[in-house]
């Protein structure tokens, strides 16, 4: 098993016949992802990359049993595509699009309430389970199968961490980007919970950024609910404070908004905190060593 994307997953792409989706669907198929088809309204009934194209997600789900969708439609149409996937009962919806209006996401999140769907993103590199498959745009060759779960807001910083881990011989169970937008589908806690329950994950690396209370909330949750080691890095220690015009946004997230405040709190909570971005891999390794020592027998 692995988190959100495993060998039983049946994947479709929305916006399937577009240039972007075609390239990344091919890449996904190359690494073994079980892609079962795609959706492009108006092109239903045709074949693309040797796979069936459907007009609606509902039809695609009925015909293929898809339970994961990668959304590659342009930002103005993304909200509609996500809600279509929710309506069709798709369990994991990965939204790659960068630039979806924030109020659209407010509506999407409201629409999702009470359903079984999980939205990853928007503005995410996606999900990858090395050795099994990917739904996203990350360079799969840098990942390798292993026992560390990664959850991050940023894409390229995720790659950076993976490269550092590779140098130390550490691979990933799954790596999940939750996206960098102000309103996103899945938060850190949801992913941490999945990793905690996953028998193939031994430790979790959480990569955050300044802005918003999500990282600290997740660390608080982890101290109470996680037995696996959690390693945290928050980017933006050197970012200047106070580059915003209004204050209303700052109030709601006033608690521990700076990266310094965030990592101080996390350290107090007993997390493995990375202060130097060049030491992400080394800190993961240290956490694994410490965890192995404290294991009984």
């Amino acid at each position: 098993m692995s988190v959100l994307l495993n060998k039983h997953s049946r994947v479709i792409f929305q916006g399937f016949t577009g240039q972007h989706a075609s390239f990344h669907a091919e890449e996904a198929i190359k690494m073994g992802t079980n892609v079962v088809g795609g959706v492009t309204p108006g092109k239903g009934g045709t074949l693309h990359l040797g796979l069936p194209v459907f007009d609606t997600v509902e039809e695609a789900v009925q015909e293929t049993g898809a339970d994961v969708s990668g959304i590659f439609v342009p930002p103005p149409f993304a909200a509609d595509a996500i809600m279509e996937a929710i309506d069709a009962g798709v369990k994991t919806i990965v939204v790659i699009a960068d630039g979806i209006p924030v109020q659209d996401m407010v509506h999407v999140e409201r629409y999702r309430m009470g359903t079984q769907s999980i939205i990853i993103g928007p503005n995410t590199p996606g999900i990858i389970t090395p050795g099994v498959g990917k739904v996203g745009i990350m360079p799969s060759h840098i990942y390798s199968p292993g026992r560390i779960g990664i959850v991050s807001r940023s894409g390229t910083l995720n790659y950076e961490a993976v490269a550092q881990m590779a140098e130390l011989g550490l691979g990933q169970s799954s790596s999940i980007g939750i996206g960098g937008d102000p309103v996103n589908g899945t938060d850190f806690v949801t992913v941490l919970k999945a990793f905690e329950e996953d028998p193939d994950t031994d430790a979790v690396l959480m990569i955050g950024e300044i802005g918003g209370p999500q990282e600290v909330d997740a660390a608080r949750w982890a101290t109470k609910n996680m037995r696996k080691p959690l390693i945290c890095y928050v980017a933006g220690l050197s970012a200047p404070a106070g580059r915003r015009m209004g204050h209303a946004g700052a109030i709601i997230s006033s608690e521990s908004d700076t990266a310094t405040a965030k990592i101080d709190t996390m350290e107090q909570l007993g997390m493995y905190v990375v202060r130097n971005p060049a030491e992400i891999g080394a800190t993961v390794k240290r956490a694994m060593t410490m965890a192995a020592k404290s294991m009984p027998g």
């Binding site: 930002p75 103005p76 960068d98 979806i100 209006p101 924030v102 109020q103 659209d104 996401m105 407010v106 999140e109 409201r110 590199p125 745009i137 990350m138 360079p139 840098i142 991050s152 807001r153 940023s154 894409g155 390229t156 910083l157 790659y159 950076e160 490269a163 550092q164 960098g180 102000p182 309103v183 990569i207 950024e209 300044i210 918003g212 209370p213 999500q214 909330d217 890095y233 980017a235 933006g236 220690l237 050197s238 970012a239 200047p240 106070g242 580059r243 015009m245 209004g246 204050h247 209303a248 946004g249 700052a250 109030i251 709601i252 997230s253 006033s254 202060r275 130097n276 971005p277 060049a278």
Partner: protein
């Protein structure tokens, strides 16, 4: 995107939010005629720049006669206003807003924001208006009232009544408050704003509620469907480098260090700045070239970073996912040649087509400083910047 106070007030007025009578002007003569037209005994003249703290900086003044209004406006227009938020250079005042001055009885705060935690629009109100709301939140958090809005039904009358009641807007003021809050909500929703703030919302001597100052911020990602809002953009208020960056699909923020940064991805860009800082250096900027960085985009990135005269060296850190290191390398060489760049360039490439990228750099005649990883890159860039700083000091000594 931010807009001016007068633009925010024009917009709010259309949604039934009462604002003082007044108009924006560009000359002292216009200020005088507006004052005459709106009448009254006292007028307020407010500098229109995108910055808070205008009052303390002398950008908000009361005129007790028509002549005085003209004099104040004449002095403000064309002057540079230095507030806590503008930096030492200040901001040139092109326009002032002339309004009837109000006699304030009591001040409140009403704002709407998109809250990351609840993923919804949230109404924020306080009985403490006219002061920095951040201070109120710190000093007396119990005086900040929050109400989360369900997007399926929008802001409901009872929610407004609840909030109004809690901040002390009662009796005849209650229906006025409900109308204002609902108007502000509709204005935010219909125009894809991410933040609206009325501070203060004041009870004036006539017993009416009036929005005396207001701010609005819009979602850049939604401007494509809000052409009317896009037109309100004032490029004079923005850093020309940031404007150029946006036009080229780059995300640039100027900082005050000397190590220029060109990175892909916001997270990696911040981590790169952090690494530079940890090695004792200071980043000159944040720059995210994003995905799909073509040679042209790289050249544009160089052009923007090099406009900052403080930059002594440039650190390029690319971890290519959808990007390609060979395209990045081609872009770097193009920029070096076309822009005749002489300063040391530290390059760290990783990910897709990294071998091809490195080969292109090595085959060129430029003395790139190649870094093997993030730490190495930051270390080398800081050494280069410090070397140049030392040389500059030496040169100055020799000249003196």
């Amino acid at each position: 995107m931010n807009i001016h106070e007068y633009q925010t007030k024009d917009l709010l007025k259309r949604y039934g939010v009462p604002v003082p009578s007044g108009r924006v002007v560009q000359t002292d003569e216009q200020a005088v005629s507006v004052a005459e037209e709106i009448g009254g005994a006292r007028w307020i003249v407010k500098a229109q720049i995108h910055s808070g703290g205008r009052g303390k900086a002398g950008g908000v003044k009361i005129g007790k006669s028509i002549d005085e209004v003209g004099a104040i406006a004449g002095e403000m227009i064309g002057s540079k206003l230095v507030t806590q938020q503008t930096g030492a250079d200040g901001r040139l005042v092109h326009r002032v807003l002339v309004e009837q001055a109000s006699t304030i009885v009591r001040e409140f705060y009403v704002g709407l924001v998109i809250d990351r935690a609840t993923r919804r629009i949230t109404l924020i109100a306080s009985s403490e208006g006219g002061v920095e709301i951040e201070e109120v939140a710190q000093r007396t958090p119990e005086r900040i009232i929050k109400e989360v809005i369900d997007p399926a039904v929008g802001m409901l009358d009872f929610q407004c009544r609840k909030v109004a009641n809690k901040i002390g807007l009662k009796g005849a003021l209650l229906p006025q408050a409900v109308k204002i809050m609902k108007g502000v909500y509709r204005c935010m929703r219909d125009n894809d704003a991410v933040m609206v703030e009325i501070n203060p919302l004041a009870i004036i001597d006539s017993g009416q509620l009036l929005a005396l100052d207001a701010k609005m911020t819009f979602d850049d990602n939604a401007l494509y469907r809000r052409p009317e809002i896009s037109e309100l953009r004032d490029f004079d208020e923005e850093d020309p480098k940031e404007v150029e960056a946006t036009a080229h699909g780059l995300n640039y923020i100027a900082l005050d260090g000397d190590v220029g940064c060109i990175v892909n991805g916001a997270g990696l860009a911040m981590a790169t700045m952090d690494a530079i800082t940890l090695h004792g250096g200071r980043p000159a900027n944040f720059l995210d070239v994003g995905g799909g960085a073509t040679p042209k985009k790289m050249a544009n990135a160089f052009h923007i970073v090099l406009q900052d005269p403080a930059v002594k060296t440039i650190l390029i850190n690319i971890f290519a996912g959808i990007n390609r290191c060979d395209w990045i390398a081609t872009g770097i060489i193009q920029a070096m040649r076309d822009q005749n760049i002489k300063m040391p360039i530290v390059v760290r490439l990783a990910g897709t087509n990294v071998e091809e990228g490195r080969a292109i750099l090595n085959a060129s005649k430029f003395p790139f400083i190649i870094a093997s990883n993030l730490d190495d890159a930051a270390k080398k860039a800081v050494i280069e910047a410090n070397n140049i700083a030392r040389k500059v000091v030496q040169l100055r000594k020799e000249q003196a």
